[in-house]
Symmetry: C2
Subunit: 221 residues, 2 copies
DNA sequence: TTAATAGTGTCTGTGAGACATTATGGT
DNA sequence: ACCATAATGTCTCACAGACACTATTAA
């Protein structure tokens, strides 16, 4: 129960109108075609938008993100990160709505898509793919999410856990190249990442060329 | 006027209780003693806290920050940056309150302090200085603000505009040392910062030793 | 045997760190 | 003349980039 409280204007806290608070999430993944993609769902208006929902009473933002992805896109098992609050008063025609943008990373195979409800769009070709611009500044959110993801992948091996273990350095590098959407130097990549990986005694098999050693993500640091 | 809208649970948007949204700001500065300090104001309960306020209807978060600093601490002329949303449901005993943490940087001389209302506390000695822990997770906010400020000062010369122009490389380095709270190597500092500064034809005077060239912050990049 | 890929060794250029040397003011 | 500080020159070491060379498998 709120405790009565007067601010500097001597109005009760509960007197003020309050904004609705929504969460919108850019779910990023790497497609089998090695492209960085984002999950979009159909909006009520018929177009496409990022999955989102309104925050329920007493709910954590993270829990609202997980709930929205489960209900709207059938996605589970996530670790969302907060990006930014979008607060333009006129950004949403449903009223005064603040949106807290989030980023999440999910393996492509975990995104069992119902094509009528959800789809994965390559971030590089977002505008060309969409019939109409995304509402509510969602394009800004995707841009911020991609920038954040690239910053994380530039430092650590697959922090989003997109690659099933064990994996080779080559497959890890191809994943990172998809995230960065540019070629990475094999030498520099190996020097940066190999110390952060746990080696196994196994090697890859079934392909031409010398079999590659298999690694797992590092146990400690 | 909000447009009626039914979500997946078939409840009207306006049916849901909404959270109060507050802004809390860590105003950082460097004191004449070359310490990194944060502005605290007296709370209604008698202790100390970060200056903050509730978001008014239709107001931008940035404007709420500026209003709070003006009203509660007499500070003007700011460029706040958003840091993070704190959403623990029980963090505020006045009810369901989300707090959007902000960072701002202000020259020490612009903080005309009324000692009964506001004070500057060295961030390094925060816990030792305070009679009681800060409420509402404000210590977390300060830690995040200091980390963000240090990241910015590691890259660019005085992005917060704390130093009056023109200035010498030595005084700029002493400022950056105060922000980082560690010694910086003069050689590396000069090599990183001098290309980002605009030289003037003047030199410092009135001190012992060879006069130093004076610089201004870079015009472009 | 050849093609293809994995993995290693090594050369080079750049830049950080360290420090010596010169420049130029005040005392 | 001497001291203090600014400014410059240069040596060394670490590392990124580049590339040659070896290793190991499938076809």
């Amino acid at each position: 129960m709120p405790i009565p409280y007067r601010d500097s204007s001597d109005r009760l806290l509960t007197d003020y109108p309050r904004p609705s608070v929504a969460v919108d999430t850019a779910v990023l993944t790497v497609t089998p075609e090695a492209e960085l993609g984002v999950l979009l769902v159909r909006s009520e208006a018929g177009g496409w938008r990022l999955p989102g929902t309104f925050l329920h009473p007493g709910e954590r933002l993270v829990d609202a993100v997980i709930r929205a992805l489960d209900v709207k896109a059938g996605v589970r098992g996530l670790a969302p990160r907060q990006l930014h609050v979008f607060d333009e008063p006129d950004r949403d025609d449903r009223g005064w709505v603040l949106s807290v943008a989030h980023l999440d990373v999910v393996p492509f195979d975990s995104l069992a898509q119902d094509p009528d409800r959800a789809t994965i769009v390559p971030t590089a070709a977002l505008e060309a793919w969409l019939p109409a611009p995304l509402p509510y500044g969602h394009a800004q959110i995707i841009a911020a999410a991609v920038a954040e993801l690239r910053a994380e992948y530039a430092e650590r091996p697959d922090p989003g856990g997109l690659l099933p273990e064990p994996f080779t350095l080559s497959s890890l590098r191809r994943l990172h190249e998809a995230v960065a959407s540019r070629r990475l130097l094999p030498d520099s990549f190996r020097r940066l990442m190999q110390p952060q990986l746990a080696p196994t005694d196994d090697v890859s098999e079934g392909s031409v060329g010398k079999p590659a050693r298999l690694f797992r993500r590092a146990p400690a640091a």
